[in-house]
Amino acid sequence: MALRMPAPDQDVLARRREIVAALREIVPGEGVIDAEDELRAYECDALSVYRQLPMVAVLPSTTDQVSRILRYCHENRVRVVPRGAGTSLSGGALPLADGVLLGLGKFNKILDIDYANRTVTAQPGVTNLGISTAVASSGFYYAPDPSSQIACTIGGNIAENSGGVHSLKYGLTTNNVLGIEMVLVTGEVIRLGGKHLDSEGYDLLGLVTGSEGLLGVVTEVTVRILKKPSTARAVLIGFPSNEDAGDCVAAIIAAGIIPGGMEMMDRPAIHATEDFVHAGYPLDVEALLIVELDGPKVEVDHLIEQVAGIARARKSMTLRISQTEEERALFWAGRKSAFPAVGRITPDYMCMDGTIPRKKLPEVLARMRELSEKHRLRFCNVFHAGDGNLHPLILFDANKSDELERAEKFGADILRLCVEVGGVLTGEHGVGIEKRDLMDTMFDDVDLAQQLRIKCAFDPESLLNPGKVFPVLHRCAEMGRMIVNKGHLPFPDLPRF
């Protein structure tokens, strides 16, 4: 791999035994892992083309232990990488050779369910679905629903500000989290928010959400839960072209309808998923749209007719409205298993995650086809169409000489394209290591320096998850004094990593 991570600190590596012993003082028993074969379990996250064994892994089970681990690491200048379930698609949980991998898997309890205030408080290692399951019998659920929800943790969701197909109507993690307990790199424990709304001072909760484990370790989470809508129905609509499907999406939004979910797949994705789950998708269409409406039955019935009308006026070739809960689930089955379905038709794939203004979709799809030819790699598209979040999947074979490199270049070109048309590098998967070196396509040096100074306010020695998100690592002391001239940082040739 070509990716450069911060050079391992030889001094820290030399102190490995001492560090392991100190961690064992804090977390007794099997909570400290230093055997190579056991460390393998942590060597990568879901961006598995990048791998690195951590120096040691530690699995604390109390906030006090997390606090003591961080205080120790801070005092001894040891780097720390927090990890939830390791489903990050951007390499956020990739370990460091000289770093402690801090796993939160033992923080797996639901602490409080409060129906009167409509909140759940959970430890960060509870899975996203675990929260919904805990309140399902009372008809409640937690709205953000990443496809990885059976595995990914609520702590990881906070770190990545994850979304799901229902985020169009119900928002992302940041819009649904009310409070957290977090341990700072110094070991200090702070609480942000709670069961009430809005922050009392600066909205540090909003800042920490989506900060990819760089600002602190989340040890408790309070989220808002919602009552399940009484009815949900989906429409499955096939179109002769991506452009027509894109027009239909724009027309639905323009009509003032905000569906519970609105997802699109292109022809290769339709075929791959249909072969896999047999959802009954039409195979003669170029694009497929799934539009879900939820709410009281009268509203759903009313809006579904409006959506069907809009689709028919826009060259829809096929249109099916789910008549039963089973049928609705079937419509979603294909979309929800898009990644594994694609995994069956290619040895490897890379999932991109740019967001674009919706109306740019036809242009972006056309240019992605050109890029596909240029890089000689196939791709297919699943797309959170309602909010413009694209997930192009690039198909490749890592065992073939230069395919991984070509796939990375293809991916980078796609993301540059997203930014060029007014979009962003990542909608929900995070920057991690994957898009780190593209940050300057969206931000200039001043923008990045401002973000890095925020990092310094939390973690001046850059011990928490270094090497992720930001392409340049400056010492915080330099940041304060940095004089910026016409948007250029001084000493642009200072070593990058």
Partner: protein, 398 residues
Amino acid sequence: MTKPRDADDVRQAVADAAAAGTPLEVVGRGTKRGLGRPMQTGASLDLSGLSGIPLYEPDELVMTALAGTPLADVEATLKAQNQRLAFEPADLGPLYGAPENAASIGGVFASNLSGPGRLRHGAARDHLLGLKAVNGTGEFFKTGGRVVKNVTGYDLCKLLAGSHGTLAAMTEVTFKVLPIPEKTRTVLIFGLDDGRAREAMSAALGSPHEVIAAAHLPTSVATRSSVAYVSGAGRGVTAIRVEGPAPSAEHRCKALREELAPFGATEELHGMNSATLWRELGDARPFVGDPRPLWRLSVPPTEGPQAIARIARTMQAEWFYDWGGGLVWLAVSPSADAGAAAIREALGGGHATLVRADDAVRRAVPVFQPQAAPLAALAKRVKESMDPKGILNPGRMD
């Protein structure tokens, strides 16, 4: 007083102030100058000259406005396309003697003041997608973008929303807009005390009827409403709002009236009356033109009535609830600390902001809830990361 014409002027003005060490008061249209601690500043940076809407794409649900643009212009432009700001910006200007509807859009986001719809639709901060700003060293930076789904870098939009001009001077904001629902209905329940009202609101919010807003007005506050159904009730009034396409708003309203009937007699408000009531509540109208110190408490909804009961035992007070009981507007009789110690002591969780009081009182007590030491120290480092010399609205949030 400096009145920049464009973002570059703002950058220059702040850079000059930073070089000279002159503290600046950052002002949008000046309607909420009485919010926060009184400050000692050498000059004012008046952003009202930055006005205009460079981008509005209704079918992308997005708008960009220069920070000094009147909120009224933004709302009128949206209304022409049948859209709105779903967080229902609270117009607090009149509480401080400013005219109605005179706020700037930048000020709305800088103070993160959301109205009744915040309960369902989120706060101002949830709608802010991107911005451009000048930090305290006179550097022009941007953050976020124009799309809803974006996790590229730290979310500095959230940080600047509610920072009351103490971190950076925003020059341009990009935000999410939403369609105006076809129909709105408000269910009124009469005669509940605070505790029962809280239970009624919890029941409504725990129903599948997608309640948008829920408030409770004790008798004396209800009497001051300009909506006859409310002022004429002569009792406490609890209000629950639903929205949606016509058939569903009507359905939800009917279902809620049935489900809430055990709590007391109900009535429903349509269109204009409903809009008037919620506007009054969002803007804290019952306490406009009133000399008393005014607090805004954000609490876990179930704890509101208990906290209020504790407070009412120690001082003369009047209040009403919004956000399903989670927001309490509380007016108390004037005193040296405006009741700060007793009010903050009474809270079981959440925070209390002294929204309105004489300068002397706001100098004597913290306007914003004091924070635990490690958090306060962190907030100070965050402030220094944007404004190392402390020249932007110095002390306003201390």
